[in-house]
Structures are given as C-alpha cells and as structure tokens.
C-alpha cells in the first residue's frame, strides 16, 4: 500500500529563514506517526503544510496521492486537525462549536447535531454541551477541539501538541481517546515535545531539530540503536569525567549531571562507585529523551 502522506525534500522558508529544511518522511495508513522535537524544530510548520493552510516553499508533499498545493479542498475534507493553539469559537457554546464547524463540511443540520452529541459523549463533554467555551478547563478545551476535529469523520487526524500544558490526568484521558481512534483505523499524525507521549502513542516517529529530521524509527528501536537499553547518570565532577573519558564512553553533560551511554552500564557503574558517592549514581532505562540528548547535545524540553 502506498503511504497516505509522503514528503520529499519538503522545505519552508519564512522571511529568508529556513524553518523546515528538506525533510523526507512517509506515513502509512492506520499508523500513529510522531514528530518529536523541541520548540522551534519546525513541527507546527510541517503540520500546517500538510493541512494546506500555509504554502510550502519547495519539495513535494502528497496526501492520499494529492499534491497539497493543487487540491487543498479535497485534502482538507479528509483531515481532522487539533491545532497547537486553541481556536475554539468563544461566541458559541460547546455544542454550537461543533455544529457550526460541521456546516463548513456541508454536513446537514440534523446529521450535524447527531454527530456532535455523539462526539461529545466520546470526549466526555456531553454534560457540558450548553456551556460557554470560556467556562471549560484546559483539558476540556483540548477534548472539545478533538471532538471538533472528528466532526467530518476524518481519515487522517493531525494532532499538534495535543496535551501541551495539561496535567497528567488530563493528558492520560486524551491519550486514551487517541488510542481508541487508532483502533478504529484512523491514521494519526502527532507532534509533541514530550518523549513520554511519543513513546506511549507512536508506532513510528521522526525526531526533528532545527528544521531537520535527525532520526527515524519506532521508539524502542530508536533507543536501542542510538543509546542502548540503559543509561548511567552521575553528578558532574572532574574526577568522574576523567574516569568516563578513560573508559572511552560516550556521554552528555546536562543539568549538572553526566548522562553516560555506556556499553556496559553495570560495569561502569561499579567502576564509578570508587570515585564518587554511591547515592549519586543511577542506572536507568534509556528513553527517547536520551536519544535526543545524544544526537543534539541538548535537552528536549527548554
């Protein structure tokens, strides 16, 4: 089966600044595909080009075989979008937000109402259907936007930082909805700067930094390939650094700690115990955060 979305040398220049720098990716039907990267990496810009709301500068970008610049209406008809910034309509109630949106897709009134109520049940906002949007909590607003993104029964769902700024519980509620949608066969494209979100939800992902894709694969495989199963973490001190250097291990210094991507974590740990406090050494499972740290030398979160 051909990929449902494919980008070839996709580039975006804003006022002379290269924001998306010749990226290539292929997203398969039915998978959850992630763009993981820090703020400013170019994730939102990439999403907006897929959504046909900003023009690309060069390269090719196909959605279901259609070029974004040529057939935006047809593409937008099969997409559902949760934008990074909430843009619910404050002039309408929760329910009206959905029915007004349905009208843009030519969904008849009665059908729109039926779907809207069903979706409000799905995102657990049925009781709030007549509330003003301003009265909703952050998590509720995100869920309402998710419901709005589903009003046209999309084949592809684009989620730009769906849980940014939410508390853990609200985040888990949204993750659960995303998993349910994936089970129904919806292709999910997701951006995030939370490595946990990416590893929890994504079948495959790319790591982006400064407009470039710097790694690609499924989360476990990426960690295996770039870091290995475990990471040794220890307080940054000159004698520790000496030891790490002597062993020829790869490491990154960050937040007053040295993160060592050791070939033999347990051996290294016992070696280091000779030179520093026992309590300050940890061996922990490697994460996507480590992949990013190792590839870029900086942390994923600002």
């Amino acid at each position: 089966m051909p990929p449902i979305i494919s980008a070839i040398d996709l580039t975006k220049i804003y006022d002379g600044v290269l924001v998306v720098d010749g990226v290539n990716f292929e997203i398969n039907e039915g998978e959850c595909f992630g763009f993981l990267g820090p703020n400013g990496a170019g994730k939102t810009t990439t999403m907006k080009m897929i959504q046909c709301v900003i023009p690309k500068t060069s390269g090719r970008l196909l959605v279901k075989g259609m070029e974004v610049g040529e057939r935006p209406r047809e593409i937008k008809r099969i997409l559902g979008v949760v934008p990074q910034d909430n843009n619910l309509d404050p002039d309408f109630t929760v329910l009206e937000n959905l029915t007004t949106y349905a009208r843009y897709y030519d969904i008849p009134k009665a059908e729109a109402e039926r779907r809207a109520l069903e979706l409000l049940r799905f995102v657990q906002l049925y009781e709030k259907r007549n509330s003003a949007v301003n009265k909703l909590s952050g998590g509720m607003r995100r869920r309402l936007i998710l419901a709005r993104a589903l009003i046209n029964d999309p084949e592809i769902l684009i989620l730009d930082e769906p849980t940014a700024g939410l508390d853990p519980q609200a985040r888990h509620t949204i993750w659960e909805k995303i998993r349910a949608l994936k089970r129904e066969g919806v292709t999910v494209v997701l951006t995030t700067h939370y490595m946990e979100e990416a590893s929890q939800l994504c079948d495959r992902l790319v790591i982006m930094d400064l407009g470039r894709i710097i790694a690609e694969g499924n989360p476990r495989e990426l960690i295996e390939r770039h870091v290995g199963p475990e990471v040794v973490e220890v307080d940054s001190r000159p004698e520790v650094l000496d030891c790490v250097l002597r062993e020829g291990e790869l490491y990154e210094e960050f937040g007053g700690r040295i993160h060592i991507f050791a070939r033999n974590p347990k051996g290294l740990a016992s070696e280091l115990m000779g030179v520093c406090d026992f309590e300050n050494i940890t061996i922990r499972r490697a994460t996507l955060e480590d992949v990013f740290l190792k590839l870029t030398g900086k942390a994923l979160r600002d």
Partner: protein
C-alpha cells in the same frame, strides 16, 4: 502584481456569513439598540435643534436634508466597524479564520464572507432606521425603500475598504488612523450636514474622487426625495467599481498577511 488576482470563491462564502449571523442573533438586543439610537440623537440635535436656525437647505427642511445622510453614515459605520474591529478580533484574537481555513473553505471565502456580512450589517441598520424616518415624514415612499438594497452596495464598499485596513493593521489600535484621517473627514465633508457646493472647488473635487460617503449620500438623498438625478449614475458606477476593486484587493492583502 498579485494584489488583483481573482479570488477563489464558491457558495461556501455563505457559511462564513451564517456563522456571523448566528453570533449576531445571539446578542440581538444589544445589536439592535445601538445602531438605532445614534442617528436618532443626531436627528434630534441637528435636524430639529440646529434646524430651527438653519431653516431650509436645497429647498427642503434641514431635518429632511440630513436624514438620508444619517442613513448613509449609518451604512458606513456599520460596515466599517464590523470589518475593522470585529473582523480583527475574529482574525487575531479568536483565531476564527485559522479554524475555518482548516476545513474545505479557502481564505478567500472567509474574507469575502466577512465582507458580505459587513454589508449585511449596513442593510440591517438601514432597515431599522427607515421606519422611523418614514414615521417622521422625512423621507418619501416608495423610492426610499430602494435604500435597503442600496445599503448592500454601500456596505460592500465600506466593508472591503475596512478589510484592506484590517489586512495591514499591526494592532487593533492602528484603526485610530483610518478613523481620524478618513472616516471623520468623510463624515463631515461628504455633503452630509451641508451641501457639497458650500466647499471650495478643489475640496469638492477631492470629496467626489476619494470619499465613498459622498456618493452614498448623493444617492441616498435622491432616493429619499423620490428622484434620482443623472449624477446618481456616475456615483453608482463609482461605488460599484471601487467596491469590486477593494474587495479583490482586500482578499489578496489578507492572503499576504495570513498565508505567508
């Protein structure tokens, strides 16, 4: 220049119009009282107050002279404020345009929908004022009923002009400039409260070249008095062509702003 590129629009323009209509109907009480009140105040103060001292202008009582001008001013204010402040809030603060262009609608349709809605505000205000002016016998039937369809054309000119400013306004405070430099002079020097002929020749000419309100007032006055002169045709042509050009221009300016 791509500023005059023909817009990509379809029936979907009405969906934007309907969105604004729905919001309007939710707050209809406030929306009705205000446009209703202001021209009445002007009419009382100037028409009946000042009018005692002025007597007749161009062979009609002063109140009857300014009544159609007040209708024209109301068309201008309704459309201009809708497509500056209100559209700017929807575009910039509420991100309503961003939300709509994620659906099959194009930005061109959103902007044209806003302009058509701005024109509709002109029609609504005109329709509220007409019965009052008729009751006061300041305008004549049946010709003055044509003010209602005419208010759509006048509204289109002011809405599209407003939308051009909205497309280039860095902040919402920027609208002070077109209001002080353009709307206020137009309000005073478009043959509104005294005949255009009272102005020095160069100013008369400038008013006819640059001020849509001059043409709107001229036609409104003709319709209110029950007879359009030949000059109305020139004014009509001016309004139609300027309205068409500004509409296309504003859509392309908006594309430049929002679809970089």
């Amino acid at each position: 220049m791509d500023l005059l590129r023909p817009p990509d629009v379809s029936y979907r323009v009405w969906k934007v119009w309907m969105r604004n209509r729905d919001v309007f109907l939710k707050t209809v009480k406030v929306n009705f009282v205000l446009p209703f009140l202001e021209p009445i105040l002007y009419l009382l103060a100037m028409g009946f107050g000042l009018g005692i001292y002025v007597g007749e202008v161009d062979g009609m009582p002063y109140a009857a002279f300014i009544a159609p001008a007040l209708v024209g001013i109301s068309m201008m204010n309704a459309s201009f404020f809708e497509c500056t402040y209100a559209s700017f809030v929807r575009m910039y603060y509420q991100k309503t345009f961003d939300a709509i262009i994620s659906t099959p609608l194009s930005l061109d349709e959103v902007i044209l929908g806003e302009i058509v809605w701005g024109s509709t505000k002109s029609l609504i205000n005109t329709s509220i004022m007409l019965p009052i002016l008729l009751a006061l016998q300041l305008i004549k039937l049946p010709d003055s009923l044509l003010l209602i369809p005419f208010s759509l054309l006048a509204g289109l000119v002011f809405s599209s002009m407003a939308m051009c400013f909205t497309a280039i306004a860095p902040t919402i405070d920027s609208f002070n400039y077109p209001i002080f430099l353009f709307i206020t002079p137009m309000f005073l020097f478009s043959g509104t409260f005294f005949p255009l002929s009272a102005l020095p020749d160069p100013m008369q000419l400038a008013s006819q070249i640059f001020f849509p309100l001059t043409h709107v007032v001229l036609i409104s006055r003709g319709l209110a008095a029950g007879g359009l002169g030949a000059q109305s045709l020139i004014s009509l042509a001016w309004l139609i062509s300027v309205g068409a050009v500004l509409t296309i221009l504003s859509i392309n300016l908006m594309r430049r702003r929002l679809l970089a």
